[in-house]
Amino acid sequence: MSNQRDPILKNIRRRKVVDFLFSLAGLLSLLFALVTLLALVVDLAVTGVPRISAEFFMNFPSRFPEKAGILSAWVGSLCVMLTTACCAIPLGVAAGLYLEEYAPKNWITQLIELNIINLAGIPSITFGLMALGIFVYKLELGQSILTAGLTLGLLVLPIIIVTTRESVRAIPNLIREASYAVGASKWQTIRYHILPYSSGGILTGVIISLSRAIGETAPLITIGALTFVAFLPTSPVQSVFPFVSLQWLKDPFTVLPIQMFNWLSRPQAEFHVNAAATGIVLLLMTLVLNGVAIYIRYRFRKKMKW
């Protein structure tokens, strides 16, 4: 008996050793990635967190590092994000819906789909160059918040289109058939079913694309964002008729990552502390955005059962 068992046990032992070696290699790779990341964040936090205070948010940049703040940068980031969202969400969702629900399933559609996926992988500075040529020089929109919003909007458009398509595709055909079977039109089916059921996924995509856009630096430098801004954009609320103003769209601006970059490129170490603090603010904003995205996805998963 034992003669028969021995080769089997030996065989099993040999394969278990391979199992063990591979899981060890996987664990080590994971630890390496995690530890490096953690070290970076801890280093940034140790340097930057003590610098974060109310004044840091309420002050303009200054020649004196201890007086300098990120007021113009975070207001600029906020305005640019708002413009980005306003341009990318309607375009991206409409394009995604069209491709999934309306477009005939042929090679042209497939080609377009392939190109959109490729577009998502293009280096962001290329978008900056294109924006410089089109928005700044051709359309003469200036080195403004509007130009920045449009540029980043184009940059994240593929992400929104792809996530829209994916969440629309996840809706089973049975649901579409149920809607059409009682005599609904295409638009009614989209309006009452497709959009509501996919909105969780779409929203997640939107937030993820905004959290990508908020950290973008290269394309904004290319279109000529300022690095030292000691003023705020025009207020959207005015005291004289018509009380609202879109002048802020045409104003020059800076954003958080550019402010950070600017401080980092100074020789004085005090400015580097400011940069680290800005980095922490940026990191927290991204984390919060991603957290919101995860929460929304979780809520919608629970609600949508087919």
Partner: protein, 259 residues
């Protein structure tokens, strides 16, 4: 059961061929659908019953690679509902359908039933409420649903969901009702209830039903069509099909020697 005099024709299938891409699934089917009668489609799995049923409300139009040849003439206007000149939406507004798998919307029970009226632009609240109650009663779901009209439809059991889908189809008062194995997920009591409902509905509308349950076909159908491998083998009065079928394949199927 059965009618003494031949009733008038409500729809007439003429030389219908149907293709999924290159694959022919329905082969030269011709049969009448009689007004205010129940016609049962029986046959082994995969013989094309669902496919035939879905031709009646142009469901296949939603997919690019499907292809019809032939006609389904709707009486008394003599329209060919398969004609590309007729908008599938019109066909679906007049011919209701209950699917093989329950497919309620992930919305409230009330909204599920009211949906057909909403897409028609009905705004009057009292009318919608009345119709929702009536349809739920007809489908035998009222006693279970009346206290939870605004809770999620997908929280119901499979059988309840199927009855909800029946209520949804009834709410728009279709001229012809297509039922694809409506009782396959139901217990005997709900099944008996649905069969009663069908008998009741027949007074006003024409019903075409797919079923795997031969007893059910024998009990409720006035006419029965036996399909095999995409062909219509035999069509006739239910009594005749079940007692003296003229084709041996039909006989083998209903006596359980096959399929």
């Amino acid at each position: 059961m059965g009618a003494v005099t031949t009733p008038s024709i409500r729809a007439d299938v003429k030389n219908l061929n149907f293709f999924y891409g290159p694959k022919q699934v329905l082969k030269n089917i011709s049969m009448p659908i009689y007004e205010n009668r129940m016609t049962a489609l029986i046959g082994p799995s995969g013989c094309g019953k669902t496919t035939l049923l879905r031709c009646f409300n142009r469901m296949h139009d939603l997919y690019a690679t499907t292809n019809y040849q032939g006609q389904i003439i709707l009486h008394p206007n003599m329209q060919n509902i398969l004609s590309s000149e007729i908008d599938p939406m019109e066909v679906r507004m007049r011919i209701g359908m209950v699917f093989q798998k329950p497919n309620p919307f992930p919305k409230s029970i009330f909204e599920n039933v009211a949906y057909g009226l909403r897409v028609r632009g009905v705004k009057k609240k009292s009318f919608i409420e009345e119709r929702v109650v009536k349809s739920l009663q007809q489908a035998g779901l009222w006693s279970e649903a009346k206290d939870r009209l605004h809770s999620h439809a997908t929280d119901m059991s499979g059988g309840q969901q199927q009855r909800l889908c029946i209520a949804r189809a009834l709410a728009t008062e279709p001229e012809i009702l297509l039922l694809d194995e409506p009782t396959s997920a139901l217990d005997p009591i709900s099944t008996a209830h649905i069969e009663e409902l069908i008998t009741e509905l027949k007074k006003d509308i024409t019903i075409l039903m797919v079923t795997h349950n031969l007893h059910q076909a024998a009990r409720t159908a006035d006419y029965t069509a036996y399909m095999y491998l995409g062909e219509l083998i035999e069509f006739g009065l239910t009594d005749k099909i079940f007692t003296t079928p003229s084709d041996t394949r039909t006989e083998n199927y209903i006596t359980g020697r096959f399929g």
